[in-house]
Structure formats: structure tokens, C-alpha cells
């Protein structure tokens, strides 16, 4: 399967680009840039919201609000590592994206079974319902994208 030739226009464009500008991981080019932007938007939204919740009404639901900030910071890590050409960034991305997927599934489930603990909204409550389910879909897209670019794992 790994020997399958890639006829993707994205990959070709990325290869042509890295040929003229020196090596640049294809993870960070083409469609990857769209994925990274959506991660960036979510990172910004979740972090700002979490900080706001903690500043203004921390006592109401400490668990949910701390979770908000933590989820925001994980999105920040994912955004930076996905965009980074550095060694080891692929692995950091894999960890961050996996934690997000587990987080949205666990918190999404708990927000249905234990609504009293997660009564106050965070990115992950209700499987990311408040954010158009993007928090549920994005880690899956992220994992697929990392898998497509798995040759950069040790790069």
C-alpha cells in the first residue's frame, strides 16, 4: 500500500514547490495549509474562550473551564507542530491530534451521561456541537493527513 503511486495534484504541487525552494515537508503545504488554518482558528477560539471563562466565572464550573483552556492549548500545540518543518514535529502532531480525538470522544460522552459536571460549554462538550462538530471531525482529518504524510515521521 505504501508503494502506491500518488497522483494527487496537491502532492505534486508540493513536490514541485519543495524542489525549487529546498526541502519543505509536504505536510505543511497545499491542503495541509487549510487543515493547519482550521486548527489555528480552533486553537484561538478555544483558548480565548477558556481564558474568558476562567477570568469571568471560574467558580461556576471549574472542571469544564479548566478543560476548555487545556483543550485550547492542545489545539495550539497541534497547530504549531503541524506547521513546523522541524525534526520530531510529526510525532508531536500525532500525539496532539490523538489526544484531541480521545478528548472529544470522552468529554462528549461524559457531557451526555454526567451533564451536571459539564453543564457549562467547552469545545468538546456534546462532541463539539457548539463548533459545528468541527472538533469531532478535525482530529480524524488530522490523523488521515498525518498518515498520508507518514514518510515525514522520522524526517
Amino acid at each position: 500500500m505504501s508503494d502506491k503511486p500518488r497522483n494527487s495534484r496537491i502532492v505534486q504541487a508540493a513536490e514541485a514547490k519543495s524542489a525549487e525552494n529546498g526541502p519543505k515537508p509536504s505536510r505543511t503545504t497545499g491542503l495541509g495549509r487549510v487543515i493547519i488554518s482550521i486548527y489555528g482558528i480552533l486553537a484561538l477560539a478555544a483558548t480565548v474562550r477558556g481564558v474568558y471563562q476562567i477570568l469571568s466565572k471560574f467558580d461556576e464550573a471549574p472542571t469544564a473551564y479548566i478543560l476548555s483552556v487545556i483543550s485550547g492549548l492542545i489545539y495550539v500545540v497541534a497547530t504549531i507542530s503541524l506547521a513546523s518543518p522541524k525534526r520530531g514535529a510529526w510525532m508531536v502532531s500525532l500525539w496532539a491530534v490523538s489526544i484531541e480525538l480521545i478528548g472529544v470522544l470522552v468529554v462528549g460522552t461524559l457531557s451526555l451521561t454526567h451533564p451536571e459536571v459539564f453543564a457549562h460549554p467547552s469545545v468538546w462538550s456534546g462532541f463539539g456541537k457548539g463548533y459545528g462538530y468541527i472538533p469531532l471531525v478535525l482530529p480524524i482529518v488530522g490523523l488521515w493527513w498525518l498518515y498520508r504524510n507518514r514518510n515525514e515521521r522520522h524526517a
Binding site: 514547490k17 497545499g30 495541509g32 495549509r33 487549510v34 482558528i41 484561538l44 474562550r49 474568558y52 469571568s56
Partner: protein, 120 residues
């Protein structure tokens, strides 16, 4: 209230046009389209005008119905997004640059909608 709804309608139209142009550009261009970039710039200009109008309204005693901190948090977040999308888009020549601009326009609309909700 009517004046501000006018703002909302204007903002919604600007975001919708910017979004559509960027989506079309994603389909037909292999580089960041000028009009898609202008669309992102237009949403940013709108946000600045909207922010000034909101500040005047708040200063004039007609304050936010919801939490002002939340309103301005949304505003600042919305404000820093189009420029980042703009520079992220022009730093690489590919069709996906336009998709980045489309995402920025869509999110700007959502944030404008939320700001209106908080205000009323």
C-alpha cells in the same frame, strides 16, 4: 438597534461575498486570487468600522446586553484572524490558499453573529 442590524446585514453580505469568491477561486485558481485576498481585506475593514461603531455605542451608554468582556473578546479574536489568513495565503502559491481565505470569511461571519447575539 436598527442601525446595528444594518451593520449586521452589511457584515453578513461582505462575509458571504468574500466566502463565495474564495470558494470559486479555490476551484478555478492555482494561486491566491486577488479578489479572494481583497475579500479578506474587506472583512477586516468592516470589522474595524464595526468595532469603532460598537465602541461609540458603548461609550454612549447603550451598552451590551450580554457581557462586554465576552463581546470584546470575540471582537479581538475576529479582528486578528483575517490578517493571519491573508499572510498565510500569500506565503504559498496554491489553490488551497483560497480555501484558507474562505474559512476565514466563514468564521468571521459566525463571530459577527455571536457578537450580535451577545449585544442584544
Amino acid at each position: 438597534m436598527i442601525a446595528f442590524n444594518g451593520f449586521f446585514i452589511a457584515g453578513a453580505i461582505i462575509c458571504a461575498v468574500a466566502f463565495l469568491v474564495a470558494v470559486i477561486a479555490t476551484a478555478i485558481r492555482r494561486y491566491p486570487d486577488d479578489w479572494a485576498l481583497i475579500g479578506a481585506a474587506a472583512t477586516e475593514v468592516f470589522l474595524i468600522v464595526y468595532g469603532i461603531a460598537a465602541a461609540i455605542r458603548q461609550g454612549g451608554g447603550n451598552s451590551v446586553a450580554g457581557d462586554p468582556l465576552e463581546f470584546w473578546g470575540y471582537f479581538i479574536t475576529a479582528l486578528i484572524m483575517p490578517p493571519i489568513a491573508f499572510f498565510w495565503a500569500i506565503s504559498e502559491k496554491s489553490r488551497w490558499s483560497n480555501a484558507v481565505l474562505a474559512a476565514s470569511a466563514a468564521v468571521t461571519f459566525v463571530m459577527l453573529f455571536r457578537m450580535e447575539q451577545i449585544w442584544q
